[in-house]
Structure formats: structure tokens, C-alpha cells
């Protein structure tokens, strides 16, 4: 109060500082965002549905497109389900088990975030591919695609759960143990319900990432239509074959699915949280 009395212009300054240059910043940011995201996406939407719904429908209901979309959702569901279980288990070990070398394992979890996806695919093929040292061969199989998706989405599954698990109040578990609950009952009735929102959010993120994955899948899938061709690989093929309308239509389906999944898992997450609270 005293300072304000002494420095009359202070309040005006205050406003200027809090929003210093925001109008210019906003203008530049909006133009940049329009150029790199909004206009390109509008072009996809226009190409996909601009010729009318019947053309859009014809493109996405072609047998090859349907097969690619179905395969994408199958392999994604498998990979995400496996990682939801294993990611939670890994998070448990990282949080509750003080084993030597934990810091290294913790860093390794992040590697798929930073590793180029094409290297991820090549990496899996070098061990599990045609001439791999183990004699197994996952090239051109669904198992191979699932493995690739597991690789790229593992960090989402672990990192969504880990901080929540670290913040869990151990007193609840101790109380349950005092009342005679066994370890499995405690996990099932106390730990898992508390983790459920975090697990769901991890599933949503992993799903959204996996249905669009291209680099990690492309070498392994081998791109046999109707067999191992996922939707992103199909879209890539349509672009190369000069069928941008077909590519755009399938792209819109992928985009809508990705957004819908993020919204659905966001709602599930908040609903579960509310019930717990």
C-alpha cells in the first residue's frame, strides 16, 4: 500500500508486465499454428470428405481399408492390454523395490521415447527377424507388429502409473494388513483401485500413439495387404499410389479414433477418480 502511494503509475505498469507483448505473441503463435497444423489438417479433412459422404464411405469401406483398420485396432488392443499389465508391474517394482541398479532401469524405460522408430523396428528384427540368432521369426506376422507397438508404448504405460504409485498412502495397506488381509487381497482391493485412473490414462495415451505408429511397424509388417498391413502403412501406400482421397479418408478415421479414445479414457479416468474420492 505504501509503495503504491509512492509510485502512482505502478498499477498501470502491473497490467503491462503481466501481459507484456501478448498481443504480438498471440498473433505470431496463431499464424505459425495455422500454417503448420490447422491448414494442413483442414486440407486432409477437405480431401477426405470434400467430395461428399458417399465418396468418403466408398474409400473407407473398401476391403483393403477395412482390413487395415481392423488389423490396426486388433494389434493395438493386444499391445496396450499387455503393457497395461506389465507396465503396472514394472512401475510397482521401480517404486516399491529398492534393488541395486534401479536408477539404470528407470532410465532404460524412457529409451523408446527417444529412440527413432525405424531403429526400434530394425532392433526387434535383428533379434527376432529372419536371420536372428534365436531362430524365431516375427517378420511379416501379427506377433511382430504387436511386439513393435509394445516397444513404442511401454513408457506411456509405466510413466502414467509410476508417480501415482509413489504417492500412494501406505497406511491404507498397513491397516488392511492389520485387519488380516493377505497381500493379494491388498493389491486387488486397495492398490489397484487407487491406481485405476492412472492405468486408464496410460491406456488412452498408448492407444492413441499405437494406432498411428508407422516407423516401428513398417519393416516388420512387410506390408502384405489383408495380412500385415496396418492403417498407417495402408495410408502410406495410398499416397504412393497417387490416391490421396483414399489416404485422406482413412486418415480421418484414424484421427477420429485417436481423439475419441483420448476423450473416452479422460472421462473414464475422471469418473473413476470421482468415485474413489
Amino acid at each position: 500500500m505504501v509503495t503504491r502511494a509512492m509510485e502512482a503509475p505502478a498499477p498501470r505498469r502491473r497490467v503491462r508486465v503481466a501481459g507484456a507483448g501478448t498481443s504480438l505473441s498471440l498473433g505470431i503463435a496463431v499464424i505459425y499454428l495455422s500454417l503448420v497444423v490447422l491448414i494442413p489438417l483442414a486440407a486432409v479433412a477437405w480431401k477426405g470428405v470434400g467430395g461428399g459422404w458417399s465418396e468418403f464411405w466408398a474409400a473407407v469401406s473398401s476391403p483393403e481399408a477395412v482390413a487395415a483398420l481392423r488389423l490396426t485396432f486388433e494389434v493395438t488392443a493386444a499391445a496396450v492390454a499387455i503393457n497395461a499389465v506389465m507396465g503396472t508391474l514394472i512401475a510397482w517394482v521401480l517404486v516399491r523395490d529398492a534393488f541395486p541398479g534401479r536408477a539404470i532401469v528407470d532410465v532404460v524405460i524412457d529409451l523408446p521415447f527417444a529412440l527413432p522408430t525405424i531403429v526400434a523396428g530394425l532392433t526387434l528384427l535383428s533379434l527376432y527377424g529372419v536371420n536372428g540368432p534365436l531362430g524365431v521369426n516375427i517378420a511379416y506376422t501379427k506377433v511382430g507388429i504387436v511386439l513393435a507397438l509394445i516397444f513404442v508404448t511401454l513408457p506411456f504405460s509405466v510413466r502414467s502409473v509410476q508417480p501415482v504409485m509413489a504417492a500412494l498412502d501406505r497406511e491404507m495397506e498397513d491397516a488392511a494388513a492389520t485387519l488380516g488381509a493377505g497381500p493379494l487381497t491388498i493389491v486387488r482391493r486397495i492398490v489397484l483401485p487407487n491406481l485405476l485412473p492412472a492405468i486408464l490414462s496410460g491406456i488412452g495415451l498408448a492407444f492413441s500413439r499405437a494406432i498411428g505408429e508407422f516407423g516401428a511397424v513398417v519393416l516388420i509388417a512387410g506390408n502384405l495387404p489383408f495380412k500385415t498391413e496396418t492403417a498407417p502403412v495402408y495410408i502410406f501406400g495410398q499416397i504412393e499410389n497417387d490416391n490421396p482421397q483414399g489416404a485422406a479418408a482413412a486418415s480421418l478415421v484414424l484421427l477420429m479414433a485417436s481423439l475419441a479414445l483420448l476423450v473416452v479414457f479422460g472421462i473414464l479416468e475422471s469418473r473413476v477418480t470421482r468415485h474413489e474420492g
Binding site: A10, V37, P40, I90, D110, G212, G215, L254, L255
Partner: protein, 263 residues
């Protein structure tokens, strides 16, 4: 005790099967005949050209997205405006998009038959199947990271220090350099490292918009794919080892930044 060890074994086994063992095999395959072949492979003319293109791309895309990230985070934290949520959602959107879809989107705008493509070609600039397209594609896929890292730290920082500086007569640029940037530096570095890793590693979007011509429009990741498909495994593994080395350095750097930022 038994439960603890079996959990360790399951978690460790899973990580080994999915992640560690395959990576180890790539490194072993690359270095099995010593350093020589790896060095020869990554210093071949095509590999050097690919490395150069990747570095040029990073040198444009990373600063561009860093400046955008600073502006966007500033606007999102300090200002309430109509469409703010849409603005924020649009920034995050590339994370929910398949890289292939991003590539397609750019072709539809900047390609020969695209919205703006014919105009740029008339003015002597080819975007698609050339370096500008590759740069643009990596800019789109790596757009969200700096903004996402900066928004929470900027919000936490508040405005008091900036106001104090302004009261003492500092101009907006001085405030930015001497107060705001130092205060948010770890968040900023984290975002820039994530952006760089994504730029170097991008494959799908770049595969669509580049002509994938060896020595001309091939980035490192395209070079890996190309070598693999031509059955030149030494070339593919060597370039992969280089990229994997960068990725490992990235995650270690992020961990160090994170630890310092937490202090």
C-alpha cells in the same frame, strides 16, 4: 521374499525381451568386426549426406519450435482469450496424429496439386520432395514439446519477480533475458532436448514428403530404412547405432536436467 524376487524376474525379463536384448544385438551386430566397418559405413558419401540433412533440419526446426514454444506458453499462461482451449488443443494435436497423416496433410497443402504448392512452384520453391518439406514435417511432429514443458513452470513462476523488475525500470526484453528465462531454464532445456530427439528421429512424416533419394533427400532415419531394404545390413546397423547412441545420450541428459530442476 519369494514374491519380491519373482516380481523382479518378471519385470526384468519383460524389459530384457522387449527392449534391452534387441538393442544389445544391434550394437553387437554393428561392432562385431570392430570399429572399422562402422566408421566406414557412417562416413560413406550417402551416410554423410543423410547426416548433414538431418543436422540442417534440426538447425531450423529446433530454434523455430523453441521460439514458438516460448511465445505460445507465454500467451497460454498470461492471457485469457476466446479460443484459448482450442489453441492449446491444436498445439497438442500432433501427438495424437499418425506421422503418416501429418506427411499427407503437408502434401495436400504444399504438393504439386496442393492448395499452395502450385503457387510456390511458380515462384521457384519446391516444398514437397525437397528439403523445405522435410523441415516442415519435422516442425509439425515436434511442435508440442517446448510449450508443454514451459506452461507448468511458467505458471508456477507467477508474475511477481517480473513485476518487481519492471517497477525497478527493466524493459520487456531485459525481463525476458534476466528474469524469466533463467527461472524457467530447466523446463526450457528439457523441452528443447525432447524436441531435438524427436526431430532427429522422425521417420513417418518425413518418409511421405521426401523423395527418399540417396545423397539428396534422405535423412538418417530414411537412410537406415533404405540400407536395410537394399540388404546392406552393415550400413543399416551402423547408422542405427549412431542414432541409438544419440537416443541414450538424450535420456541421460533429460534425467540430469530433471534432477537439477528438482533441486
Amino acid at each position: 521374499m519369494k514374491a519380491k524376487w519373482s516380481l523382479r524376474a518378471i519385470a526384468g525379463g519383460y524389459l530384457a525381451i522387449v527392449l534391452v536384448a534387441p538393442l544389445a544385438v544391434v550394437f553387437w551386430s554393428a561392432f562385431r568386426h570392430g570399429l572399422g566397418p562402422v566408421w566406414d559405413a557412417i562416413t560413406s558419401p550417402d551416410a554423410i549426406a543423410a547426416l548433414k540433412l538431418t543436422l540442417i533440419t534440426a538447425a531450423i526446426a529446433v530454434p523455430a519450435n523453441t521460439i514458438f514454444g516460448l511465445l505460445a506458453a507465454h500467451v497460454l499462461v498470461r492471457r485469457r482469450f476466446t479460443g484459448r482451449r482450442a489453441f492449446s488443443a491444436l498445439i497438442d494435436l500432433p501427438l495424437a496424429l499418425s506421422p503418416v497423416v501429418i506427411g499427407l496433410a503437408l502434401v495436400l497443402v504444399w504438393g504439386r496439386d496442393g492448395w499452395f504448392g502450385p503457387w510456390t512452384i511458380d515462384h521457384g520453391v519446391t516444398v514437397i520432395f525437397a528439403t523445405p518439406g522435410i523441415v516442415l514435417a519435422t516442425i509439425v511432429v515436434s511442435l508440442p514439446f517446448v510449450t508443454r514443458e514451459l506452461v507448468p513452470v511458467l505458471r508456477e513462476l507467477g508474475v511477481e519477480q517480473q513485476e518487481a523488475a519492471a517497477t525497478l525500470g527493466a524493459g520487456p526484453l531485459q525481463i525476458l533475458w534476466r528474469i524469466t528465462l533463467p527461472a524457467v531454464r530447466y523446463g526450457l532445456i528439457y523441452g528443447v532436448v525432447l524436441t531435438t530427439a524427436r526431430v532427429i528421429g522422425e521417420f513417418g512424416a518425413v518418409a511421405v514428403v521426401s523423395g527418399n533419394i540417396a545423397g539428396q533427400s534422405q535423412t538418417m532415419t530414411l537412410y537406415v530404412q533404405n540400407q536395410y531394404q537394399q540388404f546392406n545390413l552393415t550400413g543399416a546397423y551402423s547408422a542405427s547405432v549412431l542414432l541409438a547412441g544419440i537416443a541414450i545420450a538424450t535420456v541421460v541428459a533429460l534425467r540430469l536436467v530433471n534432477r537439477r530442476g528438482a533441486k
